[in-house]
C-alpha cells in the first residue's frame, strides 16, 4: 500500500501535510503526557479536541519545538523547528499561559513580536495585526491592566503579526466574551480559507465546530478519534445520556417512565431521579407528557453529561 493510499484511509493523516507528528510520545518523569500519537495537519483549520489533561498542550508544544518528544518525531514543513530556527518565519503559536510582557503596551508587544520575527515594517505590521483583533482602542495601554479576553487578543495579534503560514493556538478563546469569540473564530476561519494551517486546541466541541469540520480528538495522551466532525458526532450518539429529573412525586413519575422506550435506566436520587437514555430528544418529550398525564409538577429536567470528558473517554475505550 502506498503512503498516499494509506493517508486517504487514516483520518488522522492528510495528503500534503505541513505539520507531521510521527509516533510521538512525551513523558515527564513517571507521567505520560502524550503516548504514541501519529497524525498530520495541512492547510485549513483543524481542531485539537480533548478534555483538560488530555495532552493537547504538550502536543502543541511538541509541534512548535517548546518541548522535545521523548520518542518519535515532529516536523514542521519537513524540519524539526528547534534545530531549524528559520522555521519560525512560517510558524507562530498562541500559548495558553500568560506569555505577554505586562509592562508593555499592546502595540509595543505586537511590534516587539514583529521585530523579533524579522518583519520588514514592524510598526505597520503591528498596527494591522492590532486592527485584525479589534484592539485599537486599548492598544496603547499596558497589557498588565487587560482582561483575560483582551490579553488573548493581544497574544493572537502577536502571532498574526509575522503573517505565519502555520498558526498553532492553545485554547485561544478562553476568557473571551461571546462577541470577541465570534470575531476570533471569524479570523481563524479566514486564515484557514487562505490556505494557512491553523491548529486550534479546545475542550469545547461547539467552539471547534464553528471553525472547522476536521478534528483530532485526544484523551489520556492518546489519539481518540480523528477526521470529520460529523463522524465523531455519530459515534457520540451511541453513548447513553444521563438526565436529572426533579418533581413533586419522583417515585411515582419514575415508575410510570419505566415503561417508556425512551429510557434505558433509572436511579433514584435525593431530590428526584437520574434517567439514562440513548434518545435525548424522545426523553425530552416523554417526561413532560407523562408528568402532565399523572398531574405531577416537574421541577427540573437537567442533562448531567454536558462535559465532553465522558464522550472522549468513551471514544478511547471503544478503540
Amino acid at each position: 500500500m502506498t503512503g498516499e493510499h494509506a493517508a486517504t484511509l487514516d483520518p488522522a493523516v492528510v495528503p500534503n501535510p505541513t505539520v507531521e507528528v510521527n509516533a510521538a510520545s512525551k513523558w515527564f518523569g513517571q507521567k505520560v503526557a502524550v503516548s504514541g500519537v501519529t497524525c498530520s495537519f495541512g492547510p485549513g483549520v483543524t481542531g485539537l479536541l480533548g478534555p483538560n489533561g488530555a495532552g493537547k498542550t504538550t502536543m502543541l508544544r511538541m509541534m512548535v519545538g517548546l518541548v522535545l518528544p521523548s520518542e518519535g518525531t515532529v516536523s514542521v514543513l519537513g524540519k524539526a523547528p528547534r534545530q531549524n530556527p528559520q522555521t519560525y518565519r512560517n510558524l507562530a503559536m498562541v500559548p495558553e499561559e500568560s506569555s505577554v510582557y505586562g509592562h508593555m503596551s499592546a502595540r509595543r508587544l505586537v511590534r516587539y513580536a514583529a521585530e523579533l520575527s524579522g518583519v520588514g515594517d514592524p510598526g505597520a505590521a503591528a498596527d494591522a495585526a492590532i486592527a485584525a483583533v479589534e484592539l485599537e482602542d486599548a492598544a496603547d495601554r499596558a497589557v498588565s491592566g487587560f482582561s483575560k479576553g483582551m490579553r488573548q487578543r493581544a497574544k493572537v495579534a502577536s502571532a498574526l503579526v509575522s503573517d505565519p503560514q502555520i498558526l498553532v493556538l492553545d485554547e485561544p478563546l478562553n476568557g473571551t466574551d461571546p462577541m470577541q469569540r465570534l470575531r476570533l473564530i471569524g479570523i481563524f476561519r479566514r486564515l484557514g480559507q487562505e490556505g494557512r494551517t491553523v491548529i486550534v486546541s479546545s475542550h469545547v466541541l461547539q467552539e471547534v465546530e464553528r471553525m472547522t469540520d476536521r478534528v483530532i480528538a485526544m484523551v489520556d495522551g492518546k489519539l481518540a478519534a480523528a477526521g470529520d466532525i460529523a463522524a465523531i458526532r455519530s459515534a457520540m450518539a451511541d453513548i447513553p445520556y444521563r438526565v436529572l429529573v426533579e418533581s413533586d412525586e419522583p417515585r411515582r413519575l419514575a415508575a410510570a417512565l419505566l415503561a417508556s422506550d425512551a429510557i434505558t435506566g433509572i436511579e433514584l436520587a435525593e431530590s428526584g431521579f437520574h434517567v439514562e437514555t440513548s434518545d435525548l430528544r424522545l426523553l425530552g418529550t416523554t417526561v413532560p407528557a407523562v408528568a402532565k398525564e399523572l398531574g405531577i409538577r416537574l421541577r427540573a429536567f437537567r442533562p448531567e453529561d454536558d462535559s465532553l470528558e465522558s464522550v472522549f473517554r468513551y471514544l478511547v475505550h471503544r478503540r
Binding site: 508544544r61 519545538g65 534545530q83 500559548p95 500568560s98 510582557y101 521585530e115 523579533l116
Partner: protein, 250 residues
C-alpha cells in the same frame, strides 16, 4: 536595531523594575556613602586604608555579586517565571544568539548599577582625598567582575527558581569563606578577577592597604582579568545556548 539588540534592550527594562532599581542603586551607593562620611577628618593614610577596606570588603565582595546575581539571574529567570519564554524562543533566531542577547541584557543592567556604585565610590575618594584616579579602575574592575557573574548567573536563573539562594551561597560561602581561606583558589572567584584589574589600574598608594585575602594567588593585571572574563562569558553563552536547545522550554 537588530533582533538580539532588541531582546537585550527589553531585558534591561524587564529586569530593572523601579523598586528593584532603587533598592540596588541604594546598595551600590552605600560604599561611597561610607567612605565619604567616615573619612571627613581622617589622615591621608587612614583615608586610603578605609577606601581599600570598603572597596574589597563591601564594593567588590558584596555589592558587585549581589547586583549581578539578582539582575543576571532575572534575565532568563523572569521569562520562565512570567511564562514569556515562548515569546522569544519561537522566533527565527538561533538559540546561541538568543542566549548572548539575554546574557548581554542581564550584564548591561548589572553594569549600569555597578557603574553607578563605582563612580560614586571613586567620587567619594576624589572629593575627600583629591585623587580622582580611582574612578576608572573601579569601573573596569567592577565591569569585569560583573561580566563573569552574569555569564554564570544568567543560565543559573533559568535552571533553578532558587538561583538567588544558590548565588548567595556561591558568593558568601564559596568566595567569602572557602576562597578567603585558601588563596590558591582565588582565580575561581569572579570578584577577585575584577579586583585584580582594579589593583593593576588604581594608583599605587592604595595597594599597601589592600588585605591579602582580596587577591589570594591572583596577580594584579587588567589584561589577564579581561581575558578571563571573555573566556567565562563565551562558556556562559555557549552553555545557555545549549540549555535552550536541549531542554524543554516550559
Amino acid at each position: 536595531m537588530t533582533a538580539p539588540a532588541r531582546i537585550a534592550r527589553t531585558t534591561v527594562s524587564q529586569v530593572l523594575g523601579t523598586r528593584r532599581l532603587i533598592g540596588l542603586a541604594l546598595l551600590a551607593l552605600l560604599p561611597a556613602v561610607i567612605v565619604f562620611l567616615s573619612t571627613s577628618r581622617a589622615s591621608p593614610a587612614s583615608r586610603l586604608e578605609t577606601f581599600a577596606g570598603v572597596t574589597v570588603g563591601f564594593f567588590f565582595s558584596v555589592v558587585v555579586p549581589i547586583v549581578a546575581l539578582i539582575l543576571s539571574a532575572s534575565a532568563l529567570g523572569d521569562e520562565r517565571r512570567d511564562q514569556t519564554l515562548s515569546f522569544i524562543v519561537l522566533r527565527p533566531i538561533p538559540r546561541i544568539v538568543l542566549a548572548a542577547a539575554k546574557i548581554g541584557g542581564g550584564m548591561a543592567a548589572s553594569w549600569l548599577v555597578v557603574a553607578l556604585g563605582a563612580i560614586g565610590l571613586g567620587a567619594a575618594m576624589g572629593l575627600r582625598h583629591g585623587d580622582w584616579g580611582h574612578v576608572v579602575p573601579l569601573l573596569a574592575g567592577g565591569l569585569i567582575a560583573t561580566t563573569v557573574y552574569a555569564a554564570i548567573f544568567a543560565p543559573l536563573g533559568y535552571l533553578t527558581e532558587r538561583a538567588t539562594l544558590a548565588g548567595l551561597a556561591f558568593a558568601f560561602i564559596w568566595e567569602g569563606a572557602v576562597v578567603g581561606a585558601i588563596g590558591a583558589l582565588a582565580s575561581l572567584s569572579p570578584w577577585r578577577i575584577g579586583f585584580s584589574a582594579f589593583a593593576a589600574l588604581t594608583p599605587d598608594e592604595v595597594l599597601p592597604y589592600v588585605p591579602d585575602l582580596a587577591l589570594g594567588n591572583v596577580m594584579p593585571g587588567a589584561g589577564g582579568a579581561a581575558a578571563k572574563a571573555v573566556v567565562v562569558l563565551a562558556i556562559g553563552v555557549w552553555a545557555t545556548g545549549w540549555i535552550l536547545r536541549s531542554r524543554d522550554l516550559i
